[in-house]
Symmetry: C2
Amino acid sequence: MALEHAILVSLLERPGSGYELARRFERSIGRFWTATHQQIYRVLKRMEADGWVTAEEIGQEGRPDKRSFSVAPAGRSALVGWLRAPVQPEAVRHELAVKIRGAAFDDAAGRAALVAEVERYRATHEETLARYLAGERRDFPGPAAPDAAAALQHVVLRGGIAYERMVLAWLDDVLATLRTLDH
Amino acid sequence: MALEHAILVSLLERPGSGYELARRFERSIGRFWTATHQQIYRVLKRMEADGWVTAEEIGQEGRPDKRSFSVAPAGRSALVGWLRAPVQPEAVRHELAVKIRGAAFDDAAGRAALVAEVERYRATHEETLARYLAGERRDFPGPAAPDAAAALQHVVLRGGIAYERMVLAWLDDVLATLRTLDH
DNA sequence: TCGACCATGTAACCGGTTACATGATTCG
DNA sequence: CGAATCATGTAACCGGTTACATGGTCGA
């Protein structure tokens, strides 16, 4: 249960509305923690009630009003407390790996369909990698990051890039293995 | 929702009781799909009611009886149907990445504690990699896998190994970055 | 005018986690 | 004699997903 903490980090990096948070979760934060806007609004409401965040009403012309959230002192100390707690081991859920082992119990036609599906899946990871690399060129062009927040954002992005490269290499291995079965 | 399917794959590879399944989820299957015994018993009950699996009562001397489950034809066709459906994109949940970005909002003492925590975390991944490599030497010593099921199990294991190596390299990057901040 | 985007929510459901429970055997 | 392992569950809770809802603006 760390959606609260992911939201706190994002709001400390820059205050914003629930909608803006949802968009950040689609982009940068979503690399390592996913959340839908419904979930974000619900958690934000609880965090506001607990005094972790405060909202500022911003009237906009030609746009619906938005409520911009900032982290309150209580939220900041809740985050620091969590930061210093032990890291929980990740719960892995990799559907494709289940399908690959399951392919042993399908016929050649089914395996051919899986090859096509893995190729499609591989293309989405190729796109993700390209997006990360473009983001890296845009946000971290210099030799070293200027401040702590940027340096840490960069190392997390490098983790995403390393993950995507690993997945692509593994998917090539998977495709070669699947193709060998029905040569 | 694919715990059913992970169970079907495991039971097709070898029939077994709920307890045995739970142990397999701790070991091999747990690499890419985690489940507790409570969850497994619940799902198994539903699968039995749906006719996806059948149970055989096995009386054991000096041990409680066990119910060994096998995949029924309906379960097999349910699995094949699922195998041919598109792969859902993975939902990533990486708590450590949230903490690393959060470290920008803690002080030097907090970051030092995080360094120690990352080192501990790194050691657990080192152990996991060693376990995978030992399993690979034990189960796949030859040059090529004899049958489809083994070849596919091996490629999934290679994925686990590649993942662990990537994580270890990234954690070294993280540690170097954290140490640079407070030089 | 129609689709895309801005902006914020409610409600129902379901799967996963945590806590609790039982009872036998084997081994040090 | 106590800890670990075998073996199977129930119950409560909570977080995440899916579906539904509203209403305005901007650009093609």
